[in-house]
């Protein structure tokens, strides 16, 4: 026996844990519990990492999350792991419960193990509810407004629940602090303790045997079953990692309590509850919000006491299969209905605030220049800052930066200005060439990225802005005239509807205005207004 084991007994403990005897029928169907524990640990790890760069107060929370996403190296990945890990944990916990349910593994003497598991399911959902608020974007804010209102309408306890969640008047700093406190201080140790209890109970009673196991010799958990658990965990981890890298996690704009256009929706795993609520109105609402979910939890808890028969082969448990099928049908029906009835937001332009937004500082002229650059397909011969060298010079690192007049002449007659150039002449109007020149003159290795980040809708709107010569009266990002009001900060002053109506008939809304009316297509209007609303204050 080694020195360490003599002092601590740790090696013996690990050996005892790994060499547990399990029934001969154990196999791949029992891997879900291990995956759930693993995912919980991944959540704890990535959660702690996020907390190292996160300020848990409204406003700062949003800015620090954007900092994690756009500036911290690897921040996107860590947040992706945490976000998709949460969804995956819900899926795996439900799969674990389904397996146990189908096999009747909750039967005497394992009732307490099952009941602790039900509480763990509720805790997993509580993480989802509290974590949803923490990005403090519009989606988080409005989703939580609805959740706290539901809690406030609970019979008898409503006012107390509301006070407890800090949402008595509105969702604000107090609610935020309490959700964060629950999410990172109270729920993790509670979960840890219950997982420990759960595993202790599994060990105490042993893994549930199937009929026929009594006559077979038992086998050891290590290494065969341990390998199956490991392989399953690895598979889950690969899926999680790929999702974290490849699937965009939306971050909307900062929470805006005055926004009247949002359609609050909870995360996908709560949609069925959300849809249930719609069937009950007025005084019956409490049935959908409290009584039905309460009964469902109670039914889950009581499962081992309702089904008390002998353990049967899983293939013969038709009632259990029926119950699972019914639950699955009900759940997916409600979820699909919730998704189908979600109104499409009137604005089709979506800005991802999880991506860099330095393009918002560009002038409309420069942004339109990006548009001409893309339209004229300049990138087929030129690199901008990075990438492998092409036939033309790297535009972010041209040795001599000429002035705009030279650039425009060069666009019109490339070979005349640069002898030997094989560049074709660019067929654009003078104003358009001006914008292109403005954009190119501004290019440096440092801002090349900002220009590349400009989303298509903003570029399209900037082209429209230039084509209609808006800058002849308006100032945007420091460029333009001051005859009309400056366009920066428009989002703070007006609603999107107001701006749309104003474009169609300016004098109807501002009688003294000398602005002509503009007939944009729906698509153009969407993009134009979305772009104008991105102009910083």
């Amino acid at each position: 026996m080694s020195w360490l084991d003599h002092r601590t007994g740790i090696e013996t403990a690990i050996r005892n844990f790994l060499y547990e005897e399990i029934p001969a029928s154990s196999g791949w169907h029992q891997v879900f519990g291990s995956i759930a524990v693993f995912l919980f640990l991944v959540q704890a790890f990535t959660g702690a990492l996020l907390a190292f760069n996160y300020a848990p107060t409204p406003g700062d929370a949003y800015n620090s999350l954007r900092y994690i996403l756009t500036e911290v190296t690897g921040g996107h990945l860590i947040r992706g792991l945490h976000h998709w890990g949460a969804s995956m944990l819900i899926v795996v916990v439900v799969l674990h419960m389904t397996q146990v349910f189908l096999y009747g593994a909750y039967k005497k003497p394992r009732e307490a193990t099952w009941m602790v598991g039900v509480v763990l399911l509720l805790l997993t959902m509580a993480y989802g509810l509290t974590g949803y608020l923490l990005p403090w974007d519009n989606r988080a804010y409005w989703g939580t407004v609805v959740a706290t209102q539901i809690a406030a309408r609970a019979p008898l306890m409503g006012p107390y629940l509301s006070r407890l969640l800090g949402g008595e008047n509105a969702v604000g700093v107090v609610t935020f602090a309490r959700f964060y406190g629950l999410h990172v201080l109270l729920l993790p140790p509670a979960t840890g303790l219950l997982i420990a209890t759960h595993i202790y109970l599994v060990r105490k009673h042993g893994v549930a045997p199937a009929p026929g196991d009594e006559v077979q010799p038992k086998k050891k958990f290590y290494p065969q079953q341990a390998f199956k658990d490991t392989a399953a965990i690895f598979g889950a981890f690969v899926i999680l990692f790929v999702m974290a890298v490849a699937v965009r996690v939306p971050l909307e704009r900062l929470a805006d309590p005055t926004d009247t256009t949002v359609v609050p929706r909870p995360d996908w795993y709560f949609l069925f509850l959300f849809q249930t609520l719609k069937f009950f109105n007025g005084p019956l609402e409490v049935v959908g919000s409290m009584i039905l979910p309460g009964l469902a939890v109670l039914a889950l808890l009581l499962v081992p006491f309702v089904d008390r028969g002998q353990v049967m082969r899983v293939t013969r448990r038709t009632v259990a299969f029926g119950a699972v099928a019914l639950a699955l049908l009900g759940w997916s029906g409600l979820t699909v209905a919730a998704i189908a009835t979600t109104p499409k937001p009137d604005n089709t332009v979506e800005i991802d605030f999880g991506a860099p937004t330095d393009w918002m500082q560009l002038s409309p002229q420069e942004l339109a220049g990006v548009g001409y650059f893309r339209q004229e397909n300049c990138a087929s011969c030129h690199t901008v800052g990075t990438g492998k060298p092409r036939i033309g010079p790297d535009l972010a690192n041209v040795p001599i930066k000429k002035n705009a007049a030279w650039m425009i002449e060069h666009f019109k007659r490339p070979a005349a200005m640069v002898p030997g150039s094989s560049m074709p002449a660019i067929q654009l109007s003078n104003a358009q060439l001006n914008a292109l020149a403005a954009f190119l003159l501004k290019l440096t290795p440092r801002n090349a990225e900002a220009l590349a980040n400009a989303p298509d809708f903003a570029v399209e709107a900037a082209l429209l802005y230039q084509a209609n010569n808006c800058g002849a009266c308006h100032m945007a990002n420091g460029v333009g005239m001051k005859i009309g009001p400056p366009l920066n900060g428009l989002a703070r002053r007006r609603t999107k509807t107001w701006v749309a109506q104003h474009f169609a008939n300016p004098q109807a809304l501002s009688p003294d205005s000398i602005m002509p009316s503009y007939k944009f297509s729906n698509r153009e209007m969407d993009r134009m207004i979305a772009y104008l609303f991105t102009l910083p204050d």
Binding site: L49, Y67, L77, P223, A226, I233, R446
Partner: protein, 171 residues
């Protein structure tokens, strides 16, 4: 294992070894895939949000040559997700109209604020008695390197300062 084991047990041993190798292998991959991004996340400096800017510290056209003056100015400092506008000080020495030096306000030993002693014509640090000459060189004391300097340029008699740089040379 003794070499006299029967054959059936030996295939058992091989299969066991196979499982154990895979268990260790898969867990190593998972541990690497989590710890390497975590290390990068914590250790790599965040991307720069914007180019360092020149800030005006004050008028240096009337300064007497070789007489250090403390100047106070406001500077934007990027701190994580925030940009803070901070009051900052610098000791400015004009050697000639074209050569103006701006020292960082902290002693290079442990960061105490030092000051110019007119009588001794030296910079004194009150904490551990480091002494610097007018050009920032260490005269005596525990300071490990000369005073740090801001990037500085003079335009129309006004001193513009860039980022603070640590002196490379040793004391």
């Amino acid at each position: 294992m003794p070499a006299t084991e029967p054959r059936a047990d030996q295939t058992e041993v091989t299969r066991r070894g196979f499982y154990v190798t895979l268990i260790y292998g898969l867990w190593s991959i998972i541990a690497t895939a989590l710890s390497v991004p975590a290390a990068i996340y914590l250790l790599f400096p965040p991307k720069l949000r914007k180019a360092p800017e020149w800030v005006e510290a004050g008028d240096v056209s009337q300064l007497e040559p070789r007489v250090p003056v403390e100047m106070v100015f406001r500077q934007n400092r990027v701190d994580g997700w925030k940009v803070l506008s901070e009051k900052t000080t610098t000791w400015v020495v004009k050697f000639s109209d074209s050569n103006v030096v701006a020292f960082g306000p902290q002693c290079t030993h442990l960061g105490c604020a030092y000051h110019w002693d007119d009588n001794r014509a030296q910079f004194l640090c009150p904490c551990h008695t480091s002494i610097f000459a007018i050009d920032g060189a260490v005269v005596s004391g525990p300071a490990p390197r000369p005073l740090d300097r801001y990037d500085a340029k003079v335009e129309n008699g006004r001193l513009l300062l860039g980022p603070l740089h640590e002196s490379k040379e040793k004391a």
